[in-house]
Point group: C2
Chain length 346, copies 2
C-alpha cells in the first residue's frame, strides 16, 4: 500500500514557448497533480489548452491566482515574475522561476539538478532556473570540475531563435521564405524586441542576445559568466562569453574552451562525460558523429562531442555542447526541480 | 606620357564560386590584361562567360594551357593545383593559388597583403592565398600584433556555405525550402562532399569543416592554427580554433579571444583598427552596430566590432570579425596579390 501526495500546480506563461513544453513534460512525467491552473497575461487569457485530454481555459495571472497553489512555474518574463512571485510566495507556493528576476539574488538558489540539487532544500519560496545557455554548459562541465577543477572557460554560443520566444520562430520562418522568394526582408523583432534596431536573422548570425551592458558585454554574456560561478559555487572560475543568435529553431550549440587545474587524459574525460547524469557523449570523428542542434531538438539531454586536448595548452580542452534550449535549457530543468520538491527523496 | 605593361592572365576554376568573383574583380579593378584565358575541368569546358562585354569560352585546363601566361589564378581545388601549377611555373607563369596545395610549403609565400606583402617578392613562381577564415582574422589582428604582440588566440567560427562552393549554396537553399514546406530533408553534400556522412545545414549548425585529423581537430581548424603562425611569421603565437558551418550564404563571422603581450587601452585598439588598411570598425553597442554577414556580403573589407576587454584577464580582449569569404577570403586577396605583381610599386 502506498500514498502519493498530490500538488496544486500553476503554470505562469502557459501559452508561451517554454510554458507549452512545461505542460507537455508534466503530462509525460505523470507529475503528481491535484489541480492545475494555466495562467497568462490578459491578452492570452481565455485561450484553451489541452492537458491530459481535458480542455483547460487559460486565466489572467493576478496576485490572487496563487491562493492554494503549492508549486508555481514562472516563464512569462522577468517583469511578471517580479510582480507576482512575492504574492505567490506569500500564499505559500514554492515558485520555480525561469526568468532572470531572482537568479543573482543571494537568498535564491540557482539550480541545475545535475550540478547543485542540494541547494534546492535551502529555498525561501523561490528557486531560480538558470539561463538556457548556462544550464547546458555547467551540466557538461560539472563532472570535469569535480575531478580536475576548472580555472577558465571561454565560450562562444550558437543560439536558436526559440530562446527569444514563439514570435522569433515565426520571424525566422517568415524571413527565410522572403529571402528564398527573392523579396526584401523587414526585420521585426530580433535581436531584442524592446530595442529600436532590428537585424535580419534568416541566413545571418547576430552577435547580440539581450541588451548591452556598460562593459561592452551583453546581458546574456554576463548571465553566462555570473550564473556559472554561482551554480558551481566557485567565484574563482574565470568565464568569458560571446553569445550569438543563429538561424536555428531549436537547440543551442556552444564552442567551449576550458582550462583545468590538473593534468587529464582525454579518454578519462570522455568516460566521465559518458557516465554523467543527463549527459550523452556523441563523439566519433571517424564516423563524423558530433552533437547537432537538429538531433538534440525535442530531447531532454545535453549532448557533448568534439572533445580534444588543446594543442598549445596541455591543461586545456575544447568541446562542443548542444541541448534543446526549451527543454534542458528551460522547461525540463524547471520540471526536474519541481519533481525534487514533489518527491525530494528521488 | 606613360606606358603600361599588360599581362596574359589565366583563371583556373573560372566557373566556380571564387573564379566568378575573380573575374568580376579583374573587370572592376581594370586589371592590365593583354589576354585572358578561362580554364576549368573538362566538365565545365565549353561554357561561355561574359568578361568586359565579350563572351569568352571556357577551355579545359591542361599543362599546355599555360604557355605564354604571365599570371595564373588557381581556385579549382587542391588536386588541380598540384597537377597543373608545376607546369604553369615551368611555362613562366606566376601562380596565385587559392587552394591548400602549397600553403605550408616553406618555399611558397603565404600572403595577406595587409600583413606580409613584403613576402611576395621572394616567390619562386607560386604565391599561396590563405584559407578564407584565416585571412580575415590575421588582417584584423595584424595592427594589434604590431603594437602589443600576441601570445594566444582562441577562435570559434560561423562560416558561410559558399566556402564549400556553389553546390553548397544550392544545397542550403533547397534544404531551407524543404524545411519550410514541411518536407523531409535529404542532405547531399555538407559537411564534406567526399566523405560518406552528410548532415542537414538548413536551420542547423555543423561543427565540422573539412576532414578530421588524428588530433581531433579538423583540417580547417589546423589551417587556421598553422597559417596564422606562418603569415604572422611567428610560431610562438598559440592558436586554438573551432570551425563551424552555419546556414549563411556569404560572409564568415568569427568570435575571437586574443591575449596580448602588453597592457592596452580599448580606445587605442579601436583607433588602430579604424586606421588599418582593409579594416572597417563597426562597433557601437548604443546603436546596436556590429559587423553582420549580410552587411559584409559583396564588400572587400574586413569588418570588426564587439571589441571589449576581457573581464578576467586584463591583457585579453574579445572581438567579432566578419568578411565576405569569397572576396577578402579568396578572390579579392588573390587579385590584391596579382595587382602587386603587376604593379609592384603600388
Amino acid at each position: 500500500m502506498s500514498t502519493q501526495t498530490l500538488f496544486n500546480v500553476a503554470v505562469v506563461g502557459a501559452t508561451g514557448a517554454v510554458g507549452e513544453q512545461i505542460l507537455r513534460l508534466l503530462e509525460q512525467r505523470n507529475f503528481p497533480i491535484a489541480t492545475i491552473k494555466l495562467l497568462s497575461s490578459a491578452r492570452s487569457a481565455g485561450k484553451t489548452i489541452e492537458f491530459k485530454g481535458r480542455q483547460l481555459t487559460v486565466e489572467e495571472a493576478t496576485p490572487e491566482s496563487f491562493r492554494g497553489v503549492d508549486i508555481a512555474l514562472f516563464s512569462a518574463g522577468g517583469d511578471v515574475s517580479k510582480a507576482l512571485i512575492p504574492h505567490a510566495v506569500e500564499h505559500g507556493a514554492v515558485c520555480i522561476d525561469n526568468t532572470n528576476a531572482y537568479r543573482m539574488d543571494p537568498e535564491t538558489p540557482l539550480v541545475v539538478p545535475e550540478v547543485n540539487m542540494d541547494k534546492i532544500s535551502g529555498h525561501k519560496g523561490i528557486i531560480a532556473n538558470p539561463n538556457c545557455s548556462t544550464i547546458q554548459m555547467v551540466a557538461a562541465l560539472k563532472p570535469l570540475y569535480d575531478r580536475y577543477g576548472i580555472s577558465r572557460i571561454i565560450v562562444s554560443t550558437y543560439q536558436a531563435v526559440s530562446g527569444a520566444g514563439s514570435r522569433a520562430i515565426d520571424e525566422l520562418q517568415r524571413q527565410s521564405q522572403e529571402v528564398l522568394s527573392g523579396n526584401d526582408v523587414k526585420p521585426d523583432m530580433l535581436p531584442v524586441s524592446s530595442l529600436p534596431v532590428k537585424h535580419q536573422i534568416a541566413f545571418n548570425v547576430i552577435p547580440q542576445i539581450d541588451k548591452f551592458q556598460d562593459n561592452g558585454f551583453t546581458l546574456e554574456e554576463m548571465k553566462m559568466i555570473r550564473e556559472t560561478q554561482k551554480i558551481m559555487g566557485d567565484d574563482s572560475i574565470e568565464v568569458t562569453a560571446t553569445c550569438v543568435r543563429v538561424p536555428v529553431v531549436y537547440g543551442h550549440s556552444e564552442s567551449v574552451y576550458v582550462e583545468l587545474k590538473k593534468d587529464f587524459d582525454v579518454q578519462e574525460i570522455k568516460s566521465l562525460l559518458s557516465d554523467a547524469p543527463g549527459i550523452v557523449l556523441v563523439d566519433d570523428p571517424s564516423t563524423q558523429q558530433y552533437p547537432l542542434a537538429t538531433d538534440a531538438a525535442g530531447k531532454n539531454d545535453v549532448f557533448v562531442g568534439r572533445v580534444r586536448r588543446d594543442l598549445s595548452n596541455p591543461r586545456a580542452l575544447n568541446m562542443w555542447i548542444v541541448s534543446d534550449n526549451l527543454l534542458k535549457g528551460a522547461a525540463w530543468n524547471a520540471v526536474q526541480i519541481a519533481e525534487y520538491i514533489a518527491i525530494p527523496q528521488s
